[in-house]
């Protein structure tokens, strides 16, 4: 720690230097003047208010996810597992403003894979550090400052890699994990996001209201691939591994549900009818999912577990995500109600196949995501010309399937490469001995619950 005392000294220096650079850079910012200029579109304070709120709600999902995953881990791994979500806030939080946003919503590159369609990835040097949109309004959503949109989208970019973590929880090294999500976010999330939302070649075709394809399917498959490559936790499945704190899991699920309102309703990038419809179907699907899961458990085991209930909530929420704004209540109820048994089966199958997708990221996010993305076509509020099984409908069905397949293959393949790469270089799998001792102590030098010891 000798280097510490010097820090303060370095500061003034650093500050001045950095201050000057930033200012310098600021100068040549072409759009900066706009910030002041009244020329630009008027702001709709209402829509802005809701988008700000949504952004906050989605941020709330990160601690929510941390609790959800953390509570399911074993006592010795609770902090390590929660860290997986929190560190995503730190890493992606930084990369997103630096270049992530530019890669997702910048001018589309490599266009022309399909005539008249966009390309594979976005880019705009001016968008680095969100400089170009620092003062602009209405580019990405009517009446809202572009920064709000950037922040809202940023939360999605943060939560997606955090979701993956559940698949290889309790057996991954922290350093490797950090490198992994950093790369994953740039190499997988950004392209997918651009392709489907940001002007890429599927934008406008595949319906993905709030990220079933971009977020849940990609995270699900990534988790599966990583879990398979890393292999099972030490002692799995021989020794039973108990959730260390189910109350935490329930709270986490509650926060996720709450945040999901921002997630789905916010994706309308408005504060009106679509927003209301998205929120309604989200609520309906979540409730239906929960109900149908506990019913299944009640039938099969004559018991309804709390973990089952919240798994049902999640299944419902994931299934409705791509559909939120586009299906009415009945559709939402059905999608939610059917997603639960589907995920239930997936989880049971996992058990039979014997691989260790620790917290069922694929079993829930992957499966429900795929189901939602394709199932939504059956319940569209505005059925394409010709109705169910009409031509237009079939095209739509194909678009959906295409989106799913592309997301599955692209995310699957690249994830595999990444996992191998990171494991060989930085090391991803945690040694058996460290697994025994627990991540909290070996990786973070902490213990989650001081309270269960005397001091």
């Amino acid at each position: 720690m000798p280097r510490l005392p010097f820090l303060p000294l370095l500061f003034t220096a650093a500050l001045v230097a950095l201050g000057l650079t930033t200012q310098a850079l600021g100068q040549q910012n072409p759009l900066a003047p706009l910030a002041a200029a009244p020329a630009q579109p008027a702001i709709d304070t209402g829509t802005t208010a809701w988008m700000l709120t949504s952004t906050t709600l989605v941020l709330l999902m990160i601690p929510g996810l941390a609790l959800f995953y953390g509570g399911l881990a074993r006592t010795k791994n609770v902090l390590g597992t929660m860290m997986h979500s929190f560190v995503a806030m730190a890493i992606i939080g930084v990369t997103w403003v630096i270049c992530g946003f530019a890669m997702c919503f910048g001018r589309t590159q490599f266009a022309g894979i399909r005539e008249g369609k966009g390309g594979l990835i976005g880019w705009d040097t001016d968008l680095m550090f969100l400089k170009a949109i620092d003062g602009t309004v209405g580019t990405y959503g009517e009446g809202i400052p572009d920064l709000v949109f950037a922040m809202f989208q940023g939360k999605f970019a943060i939560i997606t890699p955090a979701l993956i973590a559940g698949a290889f929880a309790e057996r991954v090294r922290f350093r490797g994990y950090c490198v992994f999500i950093f790369l994953w976010s740039l190499l997988i999330y950004c392209p997918l996001c651009h392709i489907i939302w940001g002007g890429g070649f599927l934008t406008g075709d595949a319906i993905d209201f709030a990220g079933g394809t971009v977020i849940h399917i990609s995270a699900g498959i990534a988790g599966l691939v990583a879990a398979l490559y890393l292999g099972a936790r030490r002692g799995y499945p021989r020794s039973a591994m108990h959730p260390n704190n189910l109350t935490m899991v329930l709270l986490g699920a509650g926060l996720l549900w709450v945040g999901w309102f921002g997630f789905n309703a916010g994706s309308s990038v408005s504060s009106g009818l679509k927003t209301a419809q998205a929120l309604t179907s989200t609520q309906a699907a979540a409730a239906a999912g929960a109900l149908s899961w506990i019913l299944i458990e009640a039938i099969i085991h004559r018991k309804a577990s709390s973990l089952g209930l919240v798994s049902g909530i999640l299944a419902g929420l994931v299934a409705i995500t791509p559909a939120a704004g586009d299906v009415a209540v009945p559709g939402a109820l059905i999608l939610g109600a059917l997603a639960a048994p589907l995920c239930y089966t997936a989880v049971i199958l996992k058990g039979k196949l014997g691989y260790d997708d620790t917290l069922d990221v694929f079993g829930i996010h992957g499966v429900a995501g795929i189901f939602g993305a394709i199932g939504l076509t059956f319940f569209l509020r505005d059925m394409p010309q010709g109705g169910l099984f009409g031509e237009a409908w079939l095209t739509q069905l194909w678009y959906q399937t295409e989106g799913v397949l592309i997301s599955l293959t692209y995310a699957g393949v690249v994830t595999f490469i990444l996992v191998v790469l990171v494991d060989k270089t930085f090391g991803l799998r945690l040694s058996d001995r460290d697994q025994e001792a627990g991540m909290d102590h070996t990786l973070h030098g902490e213990h989650g619950y001081g309270l269960i010891n005397i001091q």
Binding site: A240, I300, S305
Partner: protein, 118 residues
């Protein structure tokens, strides 16, 4: 003096303590433990049935004078059994009682020791 260590099912704790008090054995030390015997206790995990390797139990420690031992043990056995009406026996997992010899007991508050301190 003997130290009676009883490992019982958590759900019987109240009954056992009541029974002991009625047999005026007031002083006891209780602690959580998890045990492995023949007990079965199945949990659900996302629709799968899981059999934990260790089952929660409660551990009682009672220091008594020799004359009390038999009575104490009987009291515990009766109170701790999940009596099965058909066979007038308890269930598996009802637990164990272990009796250990004590060399001396000291009451901290007064420092006195031996039988009077129990």
């Amino acid at each position: 003096m003997k130290l009676i260590v009883a490992i019982i099912q958590p759900d019987k704790l109240d009954e056992v303590r009541q029974a002991l008090i009625d047999a005026n054995i007031g002083r006891v030390t209780v602690s959580r433990c998890t045990g492995h015997g023949r007990t079965q206790d199945i949990d659900l995990y996302r629709g799968q049935e899981v059999t934990p390797n260790l089952v929660p139990k409660v551990r009682l420690e009672i220091a008594v004078n020799d004359s009390f031992v038999e009575n104490t043990v009987k009291t515990i056995v009766n109170a701790a059994q999940h009596l099965d009406p058909t066979t007038s026996k308890g269930e598996r997992g009802d637990g164990k009682i272990i009796v250990l010899p004590i060399e001396d007991i000291i009451r901290i508050s007064t420092g006195e020791h031996g039988n009077s301190a129990v």
